[in-house]
Structure formats: structure tokens, C-alpha cells
């Protein structure tokens, strides 16, 4: 029976001996804590300063801190049940701040919260509720880790986690139990000392284990690089990327020490999910191991003993890792940094990579084709040339300019723009935006491409760009900023969504039963067989491109277009959890993968939704999924870009 009049028992009259023992214990615990924590802090502070880190604007940092740390938003959203359990543990800790202070003060006879006073009573009751939630949370997490054993927490059982869980449980239990005894009860003293011991054992454990995140991660979240996949500019003539310990910056060191080993990064990694060596968690922990063993002044390579050399080159830069990380680790700049170190120094020897770089050294596009091919396409498709007067510059990109399927998407988007009466033009000359070489870490080539393209844009007085490729969008809008001021860029899904109400829905069999009745007057249209008449509209599953979704936060605009052409169905991994097609990070150019093909994994998932159409918004996703769906054989869903979906409703006469 809970006595609502119960108060927290506070033992009184600690003897001098007890106080002395308490002091010694605090001193020992504190020193043990500092012995390790000081070292970690030392390593972080002795790391290279981040040349391009800016504390201001501080608004985003404050918001992120509030949302991600205090509200535990990422923790909960990405793994709801365990996330909530953890949130309770965290909030419990927060709530216990005053409790703990008062606890030790009591030991010295200077307790300041009166358990019988109105404030003390309310506060302790509140803390008790949190303690209950915390205890329940930690119990649930313990069961999950040791009994359910999810894959993402690693192969080995973490006994230290078990110890910590036990300690936390003891802390909560001893706190709650103290409501049921009187101040003078010896049990109260026992509970008090148990609680104290639990705390003082906990303290030094923190910096020796992944629980360092308790101290570091709020700072880490606050001191993030300021944007998603923010690749820092190289600092000076001797900086080529992350090669050795001396290249690890403070932000990187802080982040790797904050890793709580939850494995959320690995859980959605396309490489880790398809049998590749790359495991984002292991990359981070590898760097942590390096810092622990060798420190930030070491010149031994980061890749080799602590991380496999091929691992960073299996990354598609999809961003699922960075997006999910609840403690603020930014994986992408680290992975790209490792690539930079290998590529900018020429240590990376890869046949396909060299082919890509040599093609862009000598030519204009990543496919190694003569640029006369692009000119011919522009002529054949009747695309107007940009002359400085039109509203939009339609940026073709490598896929749009040279890939047959990419060209179809461009042609269809042009049809829509013609229909809408948009004024646009294409540039006479384009060079590759540099996305693949940027992600692969070839800063020399990237700078050349960015600068040349910026010059072309300025010469042509381009103010607004619209393009079909999210990689171009990202690279032009964000990555080119390092070398100039790019004009505004938007993706064709953003453009189309703005005019969605002006785009007619397709009519005819298979789209809307009512319209079909009116249209057919009993007879079937000659090119439609009875097999084409469906019982309802098309079921279209939309595949969120990484560079449109996670990178640019565009999820609904393409869906608006999909909804024009049929019924939208979602894949299990959708929106910000979308699973990569496998092309990003330059990987589309790097030849055969090991293990299962990423595109096949995703294609299987899309097919399993039962949709008869797959909608994409990226020419690379289009290419990868086309190849994967081709392996599915008969009955594979049709694959269409949203531009192609948008043209389905256009009157036939609008072909140009």
C-alpha cells in the first residue's frame, strides 16, 4: 500500500567517520573518473582545430540541442519502443539532478531539500515518477539486449551494459525504497549508502565505457558541423583529408568518443545490409580505437589496422547513418574524409575510379562520351538554348545529357514545361557537376569542375536552375558554395508539385473507373488489350532518392505527382528511412560490387509491395532499379520517373 503521506527518508547524523569515508570515496571515484575522462578530453582538445567551424548562427544549435537531446526526438523516432525506454532513463537522470546533489549534501549534514516541505515533497514525488519510468525503461532495455539480442547491438554481449543497467536499477530502486522507511530506520542508512555506492561506482565507469556519451553527446549535438553531410573544405596546402591521427579534428574526435554503439547507423546502411565490409559503427569505433591507442598526434594511417581500406569506398553516401545517429555523429564527412586521404594522395588505385577521373580530366562528362553526343540530343529533342532571357536553365547533367533513359526523362519534363508555358533553355556547354568525384574525395577534379561550371553559369547569366537529378541539385546548391555563389537550384519534383493543380490526370482504362466508362463507349481502344484494364488505378510505389529525401527534405512533392497518376503505396522503408538504390557516392561508376547488389535488395522490397509501378525521381535510381527489376523477369513493375508520370495525362499533341 502506498502511503500518500510517505516522504523520502533522509538518514540523519552521519558520524565523522562516515563523513570521512564519504569524502574518500568521492575523491577516489572522482579521480578514477578524471583519470580516464581527462585523457579523453586531452585527446579531443589536442586534435587539430576545425578550420571551418562556426559557432554562429547559434539558433539551429540551440534548437537541435532542445529537440534531439532534451526531447530525445531522434532516439524515439527511429526506434520508438527502445527509444522511449531510453528517453525515460535520460529524463530520469535529468530529474535526478537536484536529488543527487541533495543526497550528497545530506551525507555532510547540509541537505537543502526538505522532504516534508511542500517543494521537497512535490519534487521528490515527481522524481519518483521518473524513477519508476526509468526503472521500467532500464528493465526493458536489459531484456532487449540480453534476451532478445537484436543484431544491431553487435555479436558480443556487452557485459558492461549489464553492469550499468544494474547500477541504474539499483539507483532507482534505492530511491523508491526510501519512501517506505523512516529517517531513523537503519534501513534508511543502508539504502542511502547503497545509493551512494552505486553512484560512486557509476561515475568512473562513465568515461571508461560507451556511457561517455552521457557527458559528451549533448555537447556533440550542440557542436555539430551545422548541416547534413557537411563536407569541410580542406585547410591549407598540406591538408588532403583524413590520412593519419594528425588529420582528425576536434569535431571528429568528439564525435567518435560519443558513440554509444547503438548500431542505428549500421541498421540502415546499404553496404552493411548487403554483405559488404563497410559497417558505419565499426568505422567510428575504429577511429575511437585509434585515438585510444595512438592519439591525435600519430602518423600511422587511419586505414589499415583500425579500419579496412576498402570499407570507405563501399559507401553510397546515402546518409542513413548520419541521419539516424542520436548522439550527433556525422558519418559522411568522416567517410568522405577517409576517401579524400586516399584519393587526393593517389594512394587509391582502382581501375574504374581512375577511368572516371581520367574521363573528367580530359572530357566534360562522367560517362566518358564526346560532348557532341549531348549537342545532338539537344538538337534532336528540340530543346531551346538558354540565352539569358528565360526564367529557368534546365540543367541536363551527365545522365540527362548522355544516358538514353535520362534523356527520356528530360524530354518528358520538357514536354511538361512546354505544356505549362514555362520559359527555359539548356546550356550549350555543361560539365559534370562533380558529384561523383566530390563524394569520392577527389578535390582537385571537383574544384576544376565547380569553377568551370560556375564560370559558365555566370557568363550565361543563369539565375534559376531546374534539373532532374538530385545529385546535381545537391552538388550545385551546396558543394559548389566552396568555390563561388551558385544560383538557386530546384529539383523537377519541386517544380512539378508547384504546378500540380495545372497538370491533368491521365484518363483512359486503368486510371479512373468512371472516366473509363465514358471514354470507351463499350469498345476497347485499339492499342489496349483487355489485360490492361485494371480493376482500379495504378498502384505506384515511390522510391525516395537519398539525395532528395534525406539530403534535401523533399518527400511530399514527388508524391503529389505520383498521386496524379495513380494510387500511392509506400515501401516498408520510406521517407527518411528510404533504402538506397546503390548508385551514390560515385559507386555507379565503380563497377561490380561484392555481396548482394544493393539495387536488387531495394528492388525486391519495392516489388513485394505489390505495386505495378515504381516511381523514381532520380536518373541514377532509375538506372539501378531498371537493371534490378529486369532480373525480376515477367510481371516486374513498370519503372517511371515522376516526369514521365506527369506527362501521362498530357494531351498527345504536346509532344514537341
Amino acid at each position: 500500500m502506498v502511503d500518500l503521506n510517505a516522504t523520502l527518508a533522509e538518514p540523519q547524523h552521519f558520524s565523522l567517520l562516515e563523513k570521512l569515508i564519504l569524502i574518500v570515496l568521492i575523491a577516489v571515484s572522482g579521480s578514477a573518473f578524471w583519470l580516464r575522462f581527462g585523457k579523453v578530453l586531452d585527446k579531443i582538445l589536442h586534435s587539430k582545430k576545425d578550420a571551418s567551424f562556426h559557432l554562429f548562427p547559434i539558433g539551429k544549435r540551440v534548437w537541435d540541442f532542445f529537440w534531439e537531446v532534451l526531447c530525445q526526438a531522434k532516439v524515439i523516432r527511429q526506434r520508438p519502443l527502445p527509444g522511449l525506454a531510453h528517453a525515460f532513463v535520460f529524463w530520469g537522470f535529468c530529474a535526478f539532478a537536484l536529488v543527487t546533489l541533495n543526497h550528497f549534501a545530506t551525507g555532510f549534514g547540509i541537505g537543502f531539500l526538505n522532504p516534508s516541505g511542500w517543494f521537497g515533497r512535490i519534487y521528490f514525488y515527481l522524481a519518483a515518477i521518473f524513477a519508476l519510468a526509468c526503472a521500467a525503461g532500464i528493465l526493458g532495455l536489459f531484456v532487449r539486449r540480453f534476451i532478445l539480442q537484436p543484431k544491431w547491438l553487435g555479436e558480443k554481449l556487452s557485459y558492461e551494459s549489464g553492469v550499468i543497467a544494474l547500477l541504474i536499477f539499483v539507483l532507482m530502486a534505492t530511491y523508491l525504497a526510501a519512501f517506505f522507511v523512516a529517517d531513523s530506520d537503519p534501513a534508511a542508512r543502508f539504502l542511502w549508502w547503497s545509493h551512494t555506492l552505486a553512484l560512486l561506482i557509476f561515475l568512473p565507469i562513465i568515461p571508461h565505457t560507451k556511457h561517455l556519451h552521457l557527458v559528451l553527446s549533448p555537447v556533440t549535438v550542440f557542436l555539430s558541423r551545422g548541416g547534413f553531410s557537411q563536407i569541410p573544405p580542406l585547410a591549407g596546402d598540406e591538408d588532403f583529408g583524413l590520412i593519419a591521427g594528425t588529420d582528425l579534428t576536434r569535431v571528429v574526435s568528439l564525435q567518435v568518443y560519443s558513440c554509444v554503439e547503438c548500431g542505428r547507423c549500421t541498421e540502415h546502411c546499404p553496404a552493411a545490409n548487403t554483405g559488404k565490409v563497410l559497417n558505419p559503427k565499426e568505422v567510428i569505433l575504429g577511429l575511437r580505437g585509434y585515438l585510444n591507442d595512438l592519439g591525435p598526434a600519430a602518423s600511422e594511417p587511419l586505414l589499415g589496422k583500425y579500419n579496412a581500406e576498402e570499407a570507405p569506398f563501399q559507401c553510397t553516401t546515402c546518409g542513413a547513418c548520419e541521419f539516424q545517429c542520436p548522439v550527433g555523429i556525422e558519418h559522411l564527412p568522416i567517410l568522405v574524409g577517409l576517401r579524400r586521404g586516399a584519393v587526393n594522395t593517389g594512394t587509391w588505385e582502382n581501375e574504374y575510379g581512375s577511368k572516371l577521373f581520367l574521363a573528367l580530366e580530359r572530357g566534360s562528362n562522367s560517362l566518358g562520351l564526346p560532348n557532341g553526343e549531348r549537342d545532338k540530343f539537344i538538337e534532336k529533342a528540340g530543346l531551346p538554348l538558354f540565352d539569358g532571357t528565360q526564367d529557368y536553365c534546365l540543367w541536363l547533367g551527365c545522365m540527362g545529357g548522355y544516358d538514353p533513359k535520362g534523356r527520356e526523362i528530360v524530354a518528358d519534363f520538357a514536354r511538361v514545361m512546354n505544356y505549362l508555358g514555362t520559359s527555359y533553355g539548356v546550356l550549350r556547354k555543361e560539365k559534370c557537376s562533380g558529384d561523383p568525384v566530390r563524394r569520392l574525395g577527389n578535390d582537385l577534379l571537383f574544384q576544376q569542375l565547380a569553377e568551370e561550371n560556375l564560370k559558365t553559369l555566370a557568363e550565361n547569366k543563369v539565375k534559376k536552375i531546374v534539373t532532374i537529378c538530385p545529385h546535381c541539385v545537391r552538388t550545385i546548391q551546396e558543394d559548389w558554395k566552396e568555390y563561388g555563389t551558385p544560383p538557386n537550384v530546384e529539383h523537377h519534383s519541386e517544380f512539378l508539385a508547384r504546378f500540380a493543380d495545372k497538370l491533368p490526370r491521365p484518363v483512359g482504362p486503368g486510371f479512373s473507373p468512371d472516366i473509363r466508362m465514358a471514354e470507351s463507349d463499350g469498345a476497347l481502344a485499339p492499342e489496349v488489350s483487355s489485360a490492361d484494364i485494371r480493376s482500379g488505378p495504378e498502384k505506384i510505389v515511390f522510391h525516395d532518392p537519398c539525395y532528395l529525401g534525406r539530403y534535401r527534405n523533399i518527400y511530399e512533392e514527388p508524391r503529389t505527382i505520383v498521386a496524379l497518376a495513380g494510387d500511392l503505396v509506400e515501401a516498408p522503408r520510406n521517407h527518411e528511412r528510404s533504402f538506397c538504390c546503390g548508385a551514390g557516392g560515385g559507386l555507379a561508376f565503380l563497377g561490380e560490387e561484392t555481396g548482394e547488389r544493393v539495387s536488387h535488395n531495394r528492388a525486391a522490397e519495392l516489388v513485394a509491395t505489390g505495386a505495378n509501378m515504381v516511381g523514381t525521381a532520380c536518373p541514377f535510381c532509375n538506372t539501378m532499379l531498371r537493371d534490378a527489376l529486369a532480373q525480376t523477369g515477367e510481371g516486374a513493375p513498370q519503372l517511371l520517373d515522376i516526369a514521365q508520370l506527369a506527362t501521362r495525362g498530357l494531351p498527345k499533341s504536346s509532344t514537341n
Binding site: 557532341g372 553526343e373 545532338k376 538514353p404
Partner: protein, 326 residues
């Protein structure tokens, strides 16, 4: 000055076809310039070769013989010809544009203060010599403006006319010239030629060839073209990049560093027509080119051209050929 001298090379004991073409070029030049045509043959033993050359319409045939000329070396050939031409003072010296000639003719010309005009595809009034520039995208007209002999080499297949095959019995006088060459003057030591891989296919004898180039884009697309070749009863050939990438074995390579072929039908699929390839198949009786680029040089030498996507045209053609066979 003593007219036109054609330096003739041997291949497997006989005069090489390109050398016969060089003779034809010489004869064309002779007609333009009003000069006589003579031939020179270099080797350790030249009697049989010289007799063969003598059968062409020539004024003189010289056999340059020396034991140190048994194996080709730049030093040996340059010295021998330098000495011979010092005596003879030719107006023109015509070579076949073979790898061997490319190795020594420029040095020989330079030694005599001249510049060799190589890889010539035509000779016209002047005389001026035409050769290709910018990988076949332009022609250049060259003229020799100095005093002294003019050195020219002719491209394989450029002077391939009926005359080069004809055998005319003429009264060419055959004489022997013995140059003075010391062993120390031969600075390079060549070994026996060897092949990279076993020769299993003889494209040189094929009557029909379907050849693939860079336009095929991926090794995985080869079956498409193989089907066409099978339908036509043709051998499969390739341009250099295809073999470099390992998509087809080197013995299927057609071009200056591969096979030279002269089938009745040559189908170039996705081949741009870079000079190195054209040289290998120029002698084909009927050339068909399928390429996306209407300005691809291959169309210059094609009898029939289709500008289109080979991934569409080739299957359609396979079907049409199969249908025609029925």
C-alpha cells in the same frame, strides 16, 4: 636525279601486299611527274624477292644485301639506304607505311636533311601528298619544298587498285648493292617475334566480318552482335578498345596493331572509324557502317551507312537477315 625508288618489304618470304601498293603509288606518281619507277629490296638474301618485284612494271630493281640486314634494325636499314641513295640521288623514295618504316624512315630522311611525309593516302598534281590529320577528321595537303630526295610512305589500302595485283612481265634489270656496315654500328639487338596468345581465328581469310567498337558500351552487349554475325555466317572482329578491355581476345582485333582484313563484307558496328582501325579493314570489298554519329569517320569509307542506335538496328538486321535466308 634518278627517279622514283620504292622500298619494298617482305612478309613471310614474299613481297608484302602493302609494298605492292607502294609500287602502285610509285607508278601513279611516275605518271604525274614523268619519272621512272625503280624498286629496292633489303635483306641478307634477296634473290627470290627481287625476282618477284621484277615482275612489276619497273625500270630497275636493286638488291641491297648484307648479313647484318638479316634481321631488321633501324641502324642497319638506315645506313644501307643512306649509302645507296648517296650514290643514286633519287627524286622520290616511296615506302609502305609499315611499323618498320615508321621506325627508320624519319631518321633516314633527317640524316639527309629531309622530312619524311608519312601515311599518305593520295598523290596529286604538284606533286602534293594527302595525309589525314586530327584522327581522320581532316585531310592535309603536303608539298616537298626542299632540295634533295622527297621521302613518302603510303597508307595500307590507299593505293589499292587493280594495277597492284597485275603481274606484268617486264625487262627490269636487277643489280646488287653491297653496303658497308660494321657490327658496332648496329646498336639495337632484336629478338624473334612472338605472339601474345595462340592464334585460333584467322580473320585474314574470312569472307564476312562483323566488327564491334566502343559503341557497344559493355561486354554484356556482345551477344547481340554475335547473333548478327552468326546469322550472316560471319566472323566476329573488334576495334582495339574492345580487345584492350578484354571483351574479346586480341586475335579478333582489326586494325594497325591487329589483323588486316579484306573480306567481301565488313560490317562495322559502333565503330567510329579512327584511323588505326580503318587501316585494318580498308581493303574490304563492301563496307557497312552502323553508328549513332553521322559524322563518324567510318562513314567516309562505307558503302552503306545507317545512322542509328545499334541496340535497335542490330537486332532488326539480324531478323531481316534471317528472313532473307528463307
Amino acid at each position: 636525279m634518278s627517279g622514283i625508288w620504292v622500298v619494298v618489304e617482305e612478309r613471310e618470304g614474299r613481297i608484302s601486299r602493302i609494298s605492292c601498293e607502294a609500287v602502285a603509288a610509285g607508278q601513279k606518281l611516275a605518271a604525274l611527274a614523268g619519272l621512272t619507277v625503280n624498286a629496292v629490296v633489303l635483306d641478307a638474301q634477296t634473290e627470290a624477292l627481287a625476282a618477284e618485284v621484277a615482275a612489276k612494271a619497273l625500270a630497275k630493281v636493286i638488291r641491297i644485301e648484307h648479313p647484318l640486314l638479316a634481321a631488321y634494325t633501324a641502324d642497319g636499314f638506315t645506313l644501307a639506304l643512306q649509302q645507296f641513295f648517296a650514290a643514286e640521288q633519287p627524286d622520290f623514295v616511296i615506302f609502305p607505311h609499315s611499323y618498320q618504316v615508321r621506325d627508320y624512315a624519319p631518321a633516314l630522311a633527317a640524316r639527309l636533311g629531309q622530312v619524311h611525309i608519312g601515311d599518305v593516302t593520295d598523290v596529286a598534281e604538284g606533286p602534293v601528298f594527302t595525309r589525314q590529320l586530327m584522327q581522320g577528321r581532316l585531310s592535309g595537303i603536303y608539298r616537298h619544298t626542299g632540295n634533295g630526295p622527297c621521302f613518302v610512305s603510303v597508307q595500307a589500302g590507299a593505293f589499292r587498285t587493280a594495277e597492284s595485283e597485275a603481274v606484268e612481265i617486264s625487262a627490269a634489270e636487277v643489280t646488287v648493292f653491297k653496303p658497308t656496315i660494321e657490327p658496332a654500328q648496329i646498336r639495337t639487338k632484336p629478338s624473334e617475334p612472338f605472339r601474345a596468345a595462340a592464334q585460333t581465328v584467322d580473320l585474314g581469310a574470312a569472307q564476312r566480318i562483323v566488327s564491334v567498337g566502343r559503341g557497344i558500351k559493355d561486354a554484356g552487349n556482345l551477344p547481340l552482335v554475335q547473333e548478327l554475325a552468326t546469322a550472316l555466317g560471319a566472323e566476329l572482329g573488334a576495334s582495339r578498345p574492345i580487345c584492350d578491355s578484354g571483351w574479346l581476345p586480341t586475335e579478333r582485333q582489326i586494325g594497325s596493331s591487329g589483323q588486316t582484313v579484306s573480306p567481301k563484307l565488313y560490317l562495322a558496328v559502333g565503330i567510329s572509324g579512327a584511323i588505326q582501325h580503318l587501316v585494318g579493314m580498308k581493303g574490304s570489298q563492301c563496307v557497312v557502317a552502323i553508328n549513332k554519329d553521322p559524322s563518324a569517320p567510318i562513314f567516309e569509307i562505307a558503302d552503306y551507312g545507317i545512322v542509328g542506335d545499334l541496340f535497335e538496328v542490330v537486332p532488326a538486321l539480324t531478323e531481316a537477315v534471317k528472313a532473307a535466308k528463307q
